[in-house]
C-alpha cells in the first residue's frame, strides 16, 4: 500500500529493508495461495468445462480447453427425465421462496419476543431454542413422516414448508436474537413512550432495523433449501414434484458412463442460482457467518 509513496532510497534504510523483506514474503504468500486457490477451484472449473465437451471425450481427453465446443449435454440433459429440467428448477424455487418467507416471518416474531419482551418463561425458551440447534433431524423425521403421510401430505410441499413457518430453524432465531440485542433499547423506549405497543414497536422500529439479520437469513435459507436433499428425498416420490437435488440424484441412477456430460451440464445448471446468490451477496454472507458461525 505504501509503494507509491516509498522513498527512493528505501533499500538502504533499515525500514526499507524491512518493507522489502515483507514485500517479498507477501509475494511468496501470494504465490502459495494462488496455487492453493487453483487446486481448490479446479474441480469446479473441470466440471464447468467438461459440461461443454462431447460426452465421450470428458473422461478420455484431459486438459481444460475443449476442442469441440458443444451444447449437446445441456440439450440432452434438460430433457433426460421425461420432462424439461425447468420443472425441477421451478419446484426448487417454489420451495426455496416458501422457506424464506416462512423463516423470515416466524423467526423474526420469535426472536423479537425472546430478545425484548418480558415474560416468565423467557430464559427457559431461549435455552430450549439453543438446545434444539443441536437436535439431529433424524431423530424427528420418522414420526414427522408418519404424521404428514397420515394427513395425505406426501408428495406435496407442505412437509417441507410447514416447519419453516413454525420457527423450527432455531439457528435463525438465535441469529436474530443476537442481532436485536445490538439495537439500542432507547429506540424501543421512545416508541413505547409515544404509546406504541409491542406490535407497533416490532413492526415500525425493530423490523426495519433488523434488515442485516433478515438478509443473512434469506441468503442462508435459500442456499440450504436449494441444496437440501434428505427431506425432499423422503417426501417427494413423484417425479413431477422433484426438486433439483432429487432430480439430479435420479439422473445419476439412470445414467451410464456416457451420461457424464449430461450430468455435469445439469449439475452446473443446478449450482448457478447458488453461485449467483454468492456473487451477489458474498460480502454480506461472509459477515453473516463470521458473526454467527452458520455454515
Amino acid at each position: 500500500m505504501t509503494t507509491a509513496t516509498a522513498p527512493i532510497d528505501s533499500t538502504r534504510s533499515p525500514a526499507g529493508a524491512l518493507t522489502r523483506r515483507r514485500r517479498s514474503r507477501d509475494l511468496l504468500k501470494h504465490l502459495g495461495l494462488g496455487v492453493f486457490v487453483l487446486l481448490m477451484v479446479y474441480p469446479l472449473v473441470w466440471m464447468a468445462v467438461s459440461a461443454f465437451k462431447p460426452g465421450h471425450l470428458i473422461l478420455t481427453q484431459p486438459g481444460l480447453v475443449p476442442r469441440d465446443l458443444t451444447f449437446d449435454n445441456f440439450v440432452q440433459g434438460w430433457n433426460a427425465l421425461n420432462r424439461p429440467f425447468s420443472v425441477f428448477l421451478v419446484n426448487s424455487l417454489l420451495v426455496s421462496v416458501g422457506s424464506i418467507v416462512g423463516n423470515l416471518f416466524s423467526c423474526a416474531l420469535t426472536a423479537y419476543a425472546l430478545a425484548r419482551l418480558e415474560f416468565r418463561m423467557r430464559k427457559v425458551y431461549l435455552a430450549v431454542t439453543l438446545a434444539s440447534v443441536m437436535l439431529p433431524l433424524h431423530v424427528l423425521v420418522i414420526p414427522q413422516y408418519i404424521f404428514f403421510s397420515q394427513l395425505g401430505m406426501v408428495n406435496t410441499y407442505f412437509p417441507l414448508l410447514i416447519p419453516k413457518f413454525l420457527a423450527t430453524d432455531a439457528f435463525f432465531v438465535y441469529l436474530m436474537v443476537q442481532f436485536i440485542r445490538t439495537i439500542p433499547r432507547d429506540l424501543d423506549r421512545a416508541a413505547w413512550i409515544d404509546g406504541s405497543g409491542p406490535f407497533r414497536t416490532f413492526w415500525y422500529v425493530i423490523l426495519p432495523l433488523m434488515r442485516p439479520a433478515l438478509v443473512t437469513t434469506t441468503i442462508f435459507t435459500f442456499i440450504w433449501t436449494w441444496n437440501d436433499f434428505f427431506v425432499p428425498l423422503i417426501y417427494l416420490t413423484s417425479p413431477k414434484m422433484f426438486t433439483v437435488s432429487v432430480a439430479l440424484s435420479s439422473m445419476v441412477d439412470s445414467q451410464s458412463q456416457d451420461g457424464v456430460g449430461m450430468l455435469f451440464a445439469m449439475s452446473l445448471v443446478s449450482l448457478l442460482p447458488v453461485l449467483a446468490f454468492f456473487a451477489f451477496a458474498q460480502k454480506h454472507l461472509i459477515r453473516g457467518i463470521a458473526t454467527t458461525g452458520l455454515k
Binding site: V37, Y42, Y112, T129, S132, P136, L140, L166, L271
Partner: protein, 304 residues
Amino acid sequence: MATTRSRRPRASKLHSQGLAAHIFLIPWQLGLLLVTAIPLFASLYLAFTDYNILSSPEFNGLENFRRMFSDEYFWASVRVTLVYVFVSIPLQLAFALLLALILDRGLRGLAFYRSAFYLPSLLGTSVAIAILWRQIFGDDGLINQALGLFGVHGESWLQNPATALSTLIVLNVWTFGSPMVIFLAGLRQIPEELYEAARVDGATVVRQFTHITVPLLTPIIFFNLILQTIGAFQTFTQAHVVSGGTGGPANSTLFYTLYIYQQGFANFDMGYASALAWVLMIAIAVVTAIHFILSKYWVFYGDD
C-alpha cells in the same frame, strides 16, 4: 431514567408484554410442540416397538437395541461415521486455521482469497458436488488423469473399499472455508496492543503465536469443533449420491444416517430406524458433552 411517575404504567405494560409475547410466540410454540417435542417422544416410543407403518406399532422392549449389537451393518456404519468425524474434522479445522493465519494481518487480496476458499463450503453438501466427486475419483476421473501424467495407472477410488471413505473425507476438508471465515473474525478480535507489548518485551514471533494467538483463539477453535462435529455426524447427501444409496462398496461409505434412511424409508422398519436415530442423538450429546468437559483444560476464557 426510572422515575416514580412511570412505575405504575410499567407494571401494566409488563402484563401486556407477557400477553404480547405469547402471541408473538404462537408459531414457535406450535413448532416446538408439533415439529419437535411430539416427534421426539414419538420416536423414543417407536424405538421400543416393531413398526412397519402399515400395521400399528408393537411393543418389543429392548429388542431393537439387542438387534444392533449383532447387526454387522450397524457396526459398519458406526465405524464409517466415527472415522469420518475424527479424521476429517481435525484436518478441516487445521486447514481452516492455517489459511486464516496466513490471510490475517493486512495481506492484499484478502477478500478474493476469502471468497475463493469460502465458496466450496456453500456448495459442498449439494447433490451436484457429490456427482462431481463421483467423477473426480472415478475410473477415468480427474485424479487418475493426473496420476496418468506421471505414468501411474490408478483404479477407481470409489470402487475400492479401502479408499472410498477417504474421498468423502477429502470432500469435507475441501469445505474448510466456513470455519476459516470464523477463525478470521476471531483473529480480528485479538487486540493489537498485546502483540506490541510482547514485541517490546522481546517475544519472538513463535512465542507470540503460542502465548497470544493460540490461547485467545481457543474459544473459536472450540466453537468450530462443536459445530463441525455435530454436522459431520449427520452427513448424508454425499454418501447417498456417491454410493448410489447403497453405502458400498463393502459398506465402506455406509454413513450412520444413510443406514437410518435405508432401514426407515427403504425397508420401512421404522421401529428399528427410530432406535438407531436415538442412538445417534445420544452419541452426539455424549461427544458434545465430552468436548465441553475437556474444554476446561484447553479453552481460555480470559482471567475472570
